[in-house]
């Protein structure tokens, strides 16, 4: 508890900002969903024949996981608040649409006949009779949708939209840091409850005031939510540096920013914590971001969909550089020294107990150990698929899990071996040992700045600036910096600045 209070106090500023962002994104999505779904529902009641198919389509949208919708939208809309709001809107449509339709359809036919018989036109009938009577049902739909949207908005942090998801994702990434997760999750829940209360209060008022107040509510909500957008329409920065989720990309992105700002007058912004490789790469491809640190191995295997032709770091870099240039018209600048490759890791005790030194040693105990692998690792040739092939392994118990929680699973004894990244901070914290890879199954993963050739042409000076990091930062240094961010809670910027100053790349 004390720990939680400490975390709360440390991050009060960030908390307020993320709550506001969260509110903004969810409310705007909700309002757009209402603006689309309520009238659509009303129109459908006049054309009941097409109603079921359309409601069916919106039900299908609901079944697509929100993460998938976000990933799908990046190539078209890039990253940030806009695609997040579109995905969340699509997500919130169904309950409102369905309830608006059933609410109006469910109005007693005798009342409709009375309204028509008394000489009301279609609009009058809707506004004076059908809408007020269906209001409780419609509001129930809006409230369901609101809870859905507020909950799902946490995922929007993965594409750089901000919100309380930032805290939750950060918590997960830091080995399921329960305090950080709660710091994001509790306000999200409270936000849903408070909004629900507001909506319920509004419902009570609108019972009497009817249609007009409904429109008034929408207008107020739109104004409240969009005013920051209207007053805050600042220019896009010259360069936006992105990064995947985690401390290492954040530190590197900060270094890029510091170096660029040191040598040029360019206006640089950071957009880190963008989730997985596919998200960040789509964002770069689309131009939402301009630079991000990528690994040579990932470029070859994931982006170019090739296999590494060699296990020599230099040759791998050359292959990645040429491939990215040809296939995507992108430049991969000089890599840094550290090799954040995959490694199979376990604790010292287990290594002693099972007599494990190299990956091949696992064969003897393949029926006894439980492995905790990330989904990605489990599915890649330079991962478990290759391990099966090259080392002839068939581990009977494999649990797949998020990268952030597998070290905890290992520390708690839930699993015996995990896949790890060589420079991850928990290697230090948990005192883990890595198993040797004599067959060189895992290709080198060296970090290097990736940017579009177009950006290179616009700012040719970037090449020399970013190449200053080429060959710098050893495994040890990277691991230490990650440790400082993850476990000592220093900011990535501070750590990056300190390193650059020590290296003499930055004036004090």
């Amino acid at each position: 508890m004390q720990e939680f209070i400490n975390v709360f106090q440390d991050r009060r500023g960030q908390l307020l900002e993320t709550i506001w962002e969260h509110l903004q994104i969810s409310l705007l999505s909700l309002v757009i969903a209402i603006i689309i779904a309520v009238p659509l529902g009303l129109i459908l009641t006049r054309y009941p024949r097409v109603a079921e198919p359309i409601i069916g389509i919106s039900a299908v949208m609901q079944t697509i996981p929100s993460l998938a919708v976000l990933a799908f939208l990046i190539p078209f809309l890039g990253i940030g608040k806009v695609p997040a709001i579109i995905a969340l809107t699509a997500y919130g449509l169904l309950p409102i649409l369905r309830n608006s339709y059933t609410g109006i359809i469910g109005v007693d036919p005798a009342l409709k006949e009375a309204a028509v018989g008394m000489g009301m036109n279609s609009f009058k009938r809707l506004s004076k009779v059908e809408l007020p009577i269906a209001m409780p049902v419609i509001m129930a739909g809006i409230r369901t949708s609101m809870v859905l949207i507020v909950g799902t908005t946490t995922i929007a942090a993965l594409i750089g939209a901000g919100g309380l998801g930032e805290l939750i994702l950060l918590g997960i990434d830091r080995g399921a840091d329960i305090n950080l997760i709660l710091l994001g999750a509790i306000p999200a829940a409270l936000l849903a409850i408070i909004l629900d209360l507001i909506l319920r209060g509004f419902e009570r008022i609108s019972k009497r005031a009817g249609f007009k107040s409904f429109v008034a509510m929408l207008l107020i909500a739109v104004l409240v939510v969009t005013s920051p957008f209207i007053f805050n329409s600042s220019q896009r920065a010259d360069l936006i540096i992105g990064g995947k989720l985690g401390s290492e990309p954040a530190i590197l992105a900060n270094m890029y920013k510091l170096l660029i700002e040191e040598d040029t007058d360019l206006n640089v912004e950071l957009e880190t914590g963008l989730g997985k490789t596919s998200f960040v790469f789509s964002a770069l491809d689309k131009g939402s971001i301009d630079i991000y640190p990528e690994f040579t191995g990932t470029a070859i295997v994931t982006l170019m969909e090739e296999e590494a032709e060699s296990n020599d770091a230099k040759e791998v870099y050359e292959q990645a550089k040429t491939g990215m240039d040809k296939r995507y018209d992108m430049a991969l600048l000089q890599p840094m020294a550290f090799n954040n490759t995959y490694a199979v890791a376990t604790t010292e005790e287990l290594a002693d107990q099972y007599n494990l030194e190299a990956i091949g040693d696992l064969q003897a105990v393949e029926d006894e150990v439980t492995a905790g692998f990330t989904l990605e690792f489990n599915d890649r040739y330079d991962g478990y698929v290759g391990m099966q092939d090259v080392y002839n392994l068939d581990i009977s118990n494999i649990r797949t899990m998020e990268p952030g929680i597998r070290q905890d699973a290992l520390a708690n004894g839930k699993v015996d071996i995990i896949d790890a990244y060589a420079t991850d901070s928990y290697m230090v914290e948990l005192n883990l040992v890595t198993l040797d890879d004599p067959e060189n199954l895992f290709p080198p993963y060296q970090g290097a700045p990736l940017l579009r050739n177009e950006t290179m042409e616009e700012y040719p000076e970037l090449k020399d600036i970013l190449n200053q990091l080429g060959g710098k930062i050893t495994d040890e240094q990277m691991r230490q910096m990650n440790y400082e961010v993850d476990y000592e809670d220093r900011s990535p910027k501070e750590v990056a600045e300190e390193f650059l100053q020590d290296e003499g790349l930055l004036d004090n």
Partner: protein
């Protein structure tokens, strides 16, 4: 005035709801439409305010085709009372009543005055009831508001679609009485759909009995009972619950020897010991003569009074034996105890020794 001219209605699925329907409802008249379910009575009524469009033929209101009116204005000027009552549940009683006046853009003051006036007309205190919600009222009270709502903008024509069938027997009867009293005052042209023969007889100036989309007989209630055109009419009327609900004009003696003209009375040309009913030249009721003199207080019976009510009144007047049956001042016939006994006897059948 409402006129149906050779109206037909065939639904897209081929059902012939109305075959050939011609009917003229005079201004200030109540015509009740009755018949077995599916006979087209409701369809016929709903064509007047164009809730249903006829397939062929024309309907006229005040000699103008209904289609030539603006549809909304047409409906504002036709009161509509539904079987389901259908008061808007989210509006107060006052708001429910003011729907049509407001659409007709009446001034606020005028609407308010009208609400008070109408509520008083149906015996509900305006200050208490105006702000109530429909659910706070009993079924009978609700339908009273339903009727009042139809009357709100003072339309000439009122359509009533089985308005009292959802009510309990006591409220139903009370509302029927109310409508009769009200009609004397407001003189609206009313088309009234019902499936209850007693109601049709009690309320209708004329009853229009329908079957399979056609009119079988259109007549006054008495004629329907006395001269049924077909076996169907006879059977349909025979479905009445009890002879005690028959109106007195059906039972009374219309050719009584106990009727005396005013002239004959003034000339003293009659039996001094007998009792006579005196009428003037236009058959308007003048009084009852007993023992050679006009009795000061006599009981007269309204023509549509059901027998059981008449019997109660008769019991209270021991010293009177002949009862004039009157419709709007006109003598229709004379009711005597003997006639009542005869009528009841004729309506009683024995089946296997059990009185039906």
């Amino acid at each position: 005035m409402i006129e149906f001219d050779k109206v037909k209605k065939i639904y897209p699925d081929g059902t012939e709801a109305i075959r050939e329907f011609s009917l003229k409802v005079q201004a200030g008249e109540i015509v009740t439409l009755i018949g077995p379910s599916g006979c087209g009575k409701t369809t016929a009524m709903k064509m007047v305010n164009r809730l249903i469009e006829p397939t062929a033929g024309d309907i006229y209101i005040n000699e103008k085709k209904v289609n030539s009116y603006n549809i909304h204005e047409l409906r504002w000027n036709i009161g509509y009372v539904l079987q389901e009552i259908a008061l808007f549940p989210h509006m107060t009683i006052g708001e429910n009543i003011s729907v049509v006046p407001e659409m007709k853009k009446w001034k606020g003051k005028k609407v308010k005055k009208r609400i008070d006036e109408l509520l008083e007309m149906v015996g509900l205190d305006p200050t208490t009831y105006q702000k109530r919600m429909p659910r706070e009222l009993s079924g009978g009270q609700q339908q009273r508001i339903g009727v009042v709502r139809a009357l709100a903008a003072d339309p000439d024509i009122i359509l009533m679609d089985e308005p009292f069938s959802a009510l309990d027997p006591i409220s139903r009867e009370q509302l029927q009485t109310d409508i009769k009293t009200l009609q004397k005052e407001i003189k609206k042209t009313i088309l009234f759909v019902t499936h209850d023969m007693d109601e049709a007889m009690a309320l209708g100036d004329r009853v229009c009995l329908m079957k399979d989309g056609e009119i079988v007989q259109l007549d006054t209630p008495q004629q329907l009972i006395l001269n049924p055109k077909t076996e169907f009419v006879k059977n349909f009327i025979g479905e009445r619950k009890s002879p005690w609900q028959t109106a007195v004009d059906v039972i009374c003696d219309q050719l009584s020897s106990h009727v005396l003209t005013k002239e004959a009375f003034e000339q003293g040309n009659f039996d001094q010991n007998a009792t006579y009913i005196v009428t003037d030249r236009n058959n308007m009721f003048e009084g009852v003569v007993s023992m050679g003199a006009i009795k000061p207080e006599t009981l007269t019976l309204e023509n549509d009074l059901p027998l059981y009510k008449a019997a109660a009144l008769i019991q209270q007047h021991d010293n009177q034996h002949l009862f004039p049956v009157i419709k709007q001042g006109k003598l229709i016939g004379v009711l005597s105890n003997k006639k009542i006994v005869e009528y009841l006897r004729s309506k009683t059948t024995l089946e296997n020794g059990v009185i039906q």
